[in-house]
């Protein structure tokens, strides 16, 4: 860039202060020291520039040079993203391993995010003719990136004009031009990849409201607290509440075209477990490997803290890029608390005025910047299309206490709240999503979808009422024992146990139960509700709950979750409903 070269003035952990960098911009990338460690400008105070360095700073000396690059921290977006495992700076970790021959991530390594030597088979968009007017977001061609993902090559935002040339179908590397756009006497070469600053939301034409649910395959989420495509959800939970398993399940089974998994400041072995399972598991809807539609960002807890923030924003930028192609994208971030802690550390070193519990006062606005990038949008360009980006953020509150700053700031920006409960986890109730504390604000938007399948609104409300009533009764039961309750309440307890055990509990380890399609949710709930309706009627005729409890169809309902949807559809469901009815008929007759 320019000849302005600064000098290091102070080094304090990941924070480096430089002098003599006049004209440097906020969030510009700078190269620090002789090794050229990557850093980002996070504050400018007079002649002093504060830089957060994304690599270990040991061994740096005062007076070493700091070179600005003139560019903000950017992601490289193009074919080759799918199936990659990146660190927080989008360096591909597998390739780093090959290049360095080491099992460790060493500092100062530089490998481009997208492979330059790979030739992709490009197919041009037949709709586009030479001389056509072309605008940002217009699709110039296609690359079949994996059997699951058709990568659409788009005109980058801020480029427009007339098509002067477009490449024929054929094999190209991402560096080759595939189209030339001219405007006046300026020409722009469209390549298969485009850079985009990770802290800036990618533009879209119009934000759209939520209309349909994003099915996650998890009953308690889909049926009880549904999330819409383009929605935002927080999953807070202390350790041992099954947060990571829940997030992995969401990434695996959700009905999204693209899944992005950001492991930010979490366990390395878990990351490796997720990676291995994605390389083995098949997407149940399309019968292909999960990895063929996924991008991983792995910045484990022992990697440089400053890169936690970039991991999150990198993930969201990649998500928006695929959204712009017209896809439904799901992104999970595990865990946003680790990112918040990184902010706290950097802020402390900059001697900023601390907010609550030492977190910086801008914690909340930074979280908003992240969550607000979710959404369903009408994207730029032709053909007209819409896409969505749904975000799930995990929060790891210390001591499992939800009144801490990160949870409290997060709830202001999310529409779904899935509270993981330590008590449920110790009782081995998984997913340990507490039904009394969790909520979804998308109910009205998704009810059309669900009510087409069954009497969802009514059943869901009834189920929640029963669970609520159980919570009220539990104190009394603790005092006087369940046998002292009136029959009606005993029935409530019995049905709520069925809802908890047969519907809400779902095993991530059982190959059939781990993914539950909506039709199956509906069938299980219908069976439970039928049982409830008939039991209520039997009670009025003087039958005791003790006898209802012994009915055989009670166990049949419990086994429903272990049947596949096909089995349920081809007779099993009908049989179960019939045996519920005949059981009660017998009870009343005999």
């Amino acid at each position: 860039m320019s000849s302005r070269v600064g000098r290091i003035y102070r080094i304090s952990g990941p924070l480096v202060v430089a002098e003599g960098l006049a004209g440097v911009m906020m969030y510009e990338v700078v190269r620090v020291g002789e090794e050229g460690l990557i850093g980002e400008v996070i504050a400018i105070r007079g002649d002093r520039t504060f830089i957060q360095v994304y690599e270990e700073t040991s061994g740096l000396t005062v007076g070493e040079k700091v070179v600005p690059t003139g560019k903000p921290l950017s992601a490289e977006l193009g074919p080759g993203l799918i199936g990659s495992i990146y660190d927080g700076l989008q360096r591909p970790e597998k390739e780093i391993g090959v290049k360095t021959g080491s099992i460790f991530i060493e500092r100062g390594v530089s490998v481009p995010p997208l492979r330059r030597e790979v030739k992709w088979s490009f197919e041009k968009n037949r709709e586009i003719k030479l001389g056509d007017k072309i605008a940002p977001g217009d699709i110039v061609g296609f690359v079949k990136e994996t059997p699951l993902v058709l990568h659409k090559i788009m005109v980058p935002p801020e480029v427009g004009g007339y098509v002067k040339w477009i490449a024929d179908d054929g094999d190209y590397t991402i560096e080759d031009s595939v189209a030339i756009v001219s405007l006046g006497d300026r020409e722009y070469e469209v390549k298969m990849y485009q850079p985009w600053p990770i802290r800036r939301p990618r533009p879209h034409s119009e934000k759209l409201g939520p209309i349909e649910p994003l099915i996650t395959g998890i009953r308690v989420i889909d049926y009880m607290f549904p999330i819409a495509k383009g929605g935002k959800a927080a999953i807070p939970g202390g350790f041992g509440t099954g947060k990571t398993v829940a997030l992995q399940e969401i990434t695996k089974w959700s009905h999204a075209d693209i899944a992005i998994y950001v492991g930010c400041g979490e366990r390395g072995n878990e990351m490796s477990d997720a990676l291995t399972s994605f390389m083995k598991l098949l997407d149940p809807r399309r019968g292909r490997l999960m990895m063929e539609r996924s991008v991983f960002i792995a910045n484990t807890s022992n990697m440089p803290v400053a890169a936690r923030e970039t991991s999150v924003f990198l993930g969201v930028t990649i998500g928006e890029y695929f959204r712009d192609m017209g896809y439904d994208v799901v992104m999970v971030a595990d865990s946003t608390s680790r990112w918040a802690e990184a902010m706290r550390e950097i802020s402390g070193r900059m001697e900023e005025m601390p907010g609550e519990e030492g977190f910086p006062a801008y914690l909340s606005s930074r979280l908003a910047e992240f969550y607000e990038r979710a959404g369903r949008v009408k994207v730029l360009g032709r053909p007209e299309r819409s896409g969505s980006l749904t975000i799930f953020g995990a929060v790891s509150p210390p001591g499992g206490d939800f009144s801490e700053p990160v949870v409290r700031s997060t709830v202001r920006y999310v529409q779904c709240f899935y509270a993981l409960d330590y008590g449920l986890a110790t009782r081995r109730h998984f997913p340990a999503i507490n039904w009394l504390m969790s909520y979804s604000l998308y109910i009205d938007f998704v009810k059309a979808y669900w009510n087409k399948l069954s009497r969802w609104s009514e059943y869901r409300e009834t189920a929640l009422k029963i669970l609520q009533r159980e919570a009220e009764l539990s104190d009394i039961v603790r005092l006087v024992g369940p046998e002292a309750l009136p029959e009606e309440d005993k029935l409530t307890l019995e049905i709520s146990r069925m809802i908890r055990e047969d519907f809400l509990q779902q095993s991530a380890l059982n190959p059939v139960d781990s993914y539950s399609p909506p039709e199956k949710d509906v069938m299980i709930m219908e069976a439970v509700m039928e049982f409830y309706r008939l039991a209520g009627r039997a009670l009025m005729k003087g039958v005791t709950v003790a006898r209802v409890r012994e009915l055989k169809s009670r166990t049949l309902i419990a086994q429903m979750k272990y049947y596949t949807l096909e089995q349920l559809k081809s007779g099993v469901f009908e049989n179960i409903v019939n045996s519920i009815r005949s059981d009660f008929k017998e009870l009343l007759g005999g």
Partner: protein, 470 residues
């Protein structure tokens, strides 16, 4: 440290001293993290640069600052970050927190000098842990199996026998399979004189010393030596695991002392404190220690870490156990109630969990019936606990014969299965057989977690029949 550099910069300009921190005039070319030597008439102590600007360098001293006089004391800058000598010859040795011998033996002749901070394992090269380590302790091996590459802490309390458990594991732990080499690295951080003497005695008398490296920093050691010890131990462990293809189990006790030292230094640096005065970066700091556990696809060895910590006031939500639990793959919780009953090791099996266990047990790993025996023991013991509470309310007389069997089971579970001699080593098979023996007092139709085939093969009744017929 390393060989003395050819020219060493030095200064006598000390602006201030606070706790273990020295504020020194920065002279050109000081590196962040480099080692310094502070000379005090005749003796010298080491320190490290923890913040440097053009005017001031902040030096953390690895010892007492008593006797330091601004203007008289010399501070020398070595230009090197903190490194230890590493060698396979460390096996059998007892060293301090900076890898200096304290067993009266010769200096370590280094094969390499290594930065104790190490580097992060490449997540893309990691492979999920899936092979067990046999500790020879029934309750751990059966219900909380430790897996190679795992980090599984013991949450204890003061007065509980965690040190004895640690020594028993050092003595007994082994891996299955011929040609697999196993090493234990033991690190004691800030332990009292009595504890240190106990460890030294045990280590010297156990005969397993040739496959052990011990690092000991007593409570009287400098704060920074205590902070360095876990990293020094893990650096030695990594050197052996990755360069010599060995399976290394590192036991670190007591991590609470480590966290206290961390808080002390943080306070001296006037950092903004997080919960209960511990620094906000404690999670990251602990993670850089614990995350050194793992397995990678390109190496045969493995790094397993078992940190031991005492929960202040037995409070599991205290920041030290809380942050540790967020990083580690499960926890082994010791219980004062069980210890009062005279049971050793006093493990609370309901609060404890080994997250990676499911991949590391079963056929060809421990034994094919392990999974089912595990579920059955846990569910039967849970049922028995419930019945114990019930019998406390309604009285023993009103229990059914079935219920009484469960109470009998719970007693056997505690006295026979969980309780074990400190010098008694049980193999996986022996442990599972004892499990079967105590399960067999329950009616067969109560063993719901066990499949009929497994029952036929392993239940003492049928096994006895088969063997009898032979």
């Amino acid at each position: 440290m390393t060989l003395e550099s050819l020219y060493v910069k030095s200064t006598k300009q000390i602006f201030g001293v606070r706790g273990s921190l020295l504020f020194v005039k920065a002279i050109g070319g000081i590196r962040y993290g480099e080692i310094v030597e502070v000379s005090l008439d005749g003796t010298s102590i080491l320190g490290q640069v923890i913040d440097v600007s053009r005017d001031i360098a902040v030096v953390q001293v690895f010892g007492s600052t008593a006797g330091i006089t601004p203007g008289l004391t010399t501070v020398k800058f070595y230009g090197e970050t903190i490194k230890i000598p590493a060698s396979i010859d460390m096996l059998g040795r007892i060293l301090d927190g900076l890898a200096r011998p304290i067993d009266g033996g010769p200096q370590i002749i280094p094969e390499d000098y290594l930065d104790i901070h190490g580097n992060a394992l490449n997540p893309a090269l990691r492979i999920p842990p899936s092979e067990p380590i046999e500790t020879g302790i029934s309750v751990l091996d059966s219900l909380l199996t430790l897996v190679r590459g795992q980090k599984l802490p013991i949450f204890s309390g003061s007065g509980l026998p965690h040190n004895r458990i640690a020594m028993q594991i050092v003595r007994q732990a082994a891996v299955r399979g011929s040609g697999e080499k196993f090493v234990v690295v033991f690190g004691a951080i800030g332990v009292t004189y009595e504890e240190a003497a106990y460890f030294l005695n045990e280590l010297r008398s156990m005969g397993a010393l040739d496959r052990t490296i011990a690092f000991i920093a007593p409570a009287s050691a400098s704060t920074v030596e205590k902070l360095a010890l876990p990293r020094t131990a893990l650096t030695a462990a990594e050197f052996i695991a990755w360069n010599y293809d060995m399976h290394v189990l590192t036991i670190l006790t007591d991590m609470t002392n480590y966290a206290e030292s961390l808080r002390e230094i943080s306070a001296a640096r006037e950092e903004v404190p997080g919960r209960r005065g511990y620094p906000g970066y404690m999670y990251t700091d602990l993670a850089t220690i614990y995350e050194r556990a793992g397995r990678v696809s390109t190496k045969k060895g493995s790094m397993t870490i078992m940190p031991i910590l005492t929960m202040p006031d037995d409070d599991i939500t205290h920041p030290i156990p809380d942050l540790t639990g967020y990083i580690t793959e499960g926890q082994i919780v010791l219980s004062r109630d069980i210890w009062r009953k005279g049971i050793y090791p006093p493990v609370d099996v309901f609060l404890s969990l080994s997250r990676l266990m499911k991949e590391g047990i079963g056929k060809d790993k421990t034994r094919e019936d392990h999974r089912e025996v595990f579920s059955q023991l846990i569910s039967a013991y849970a049922e028995a606990q419930y019945l114990r509470e019930l019998s406390a309310i309604v009285g023993l007389e009103s229990l059914t014969p079935r219920d009484k069997k469960y109470l009998e089971f719970a007693d056997l579970f505690e006295r026979k299965f969980m309780n074990q001699g400190e010098y008694e080593r049980r193999s996986f098979e022996q442990t599972l057989d004892i499990g079967w023996e105590i399960l067999s007092i329950l009616p067969e139709d109560e063993l719901k977690q066990i499949s009929p085939q497994t029952l036929k093969k392993f239940h003492p009744r049928y096994r006895f029949e088969v063997e009898g017929r032979k």
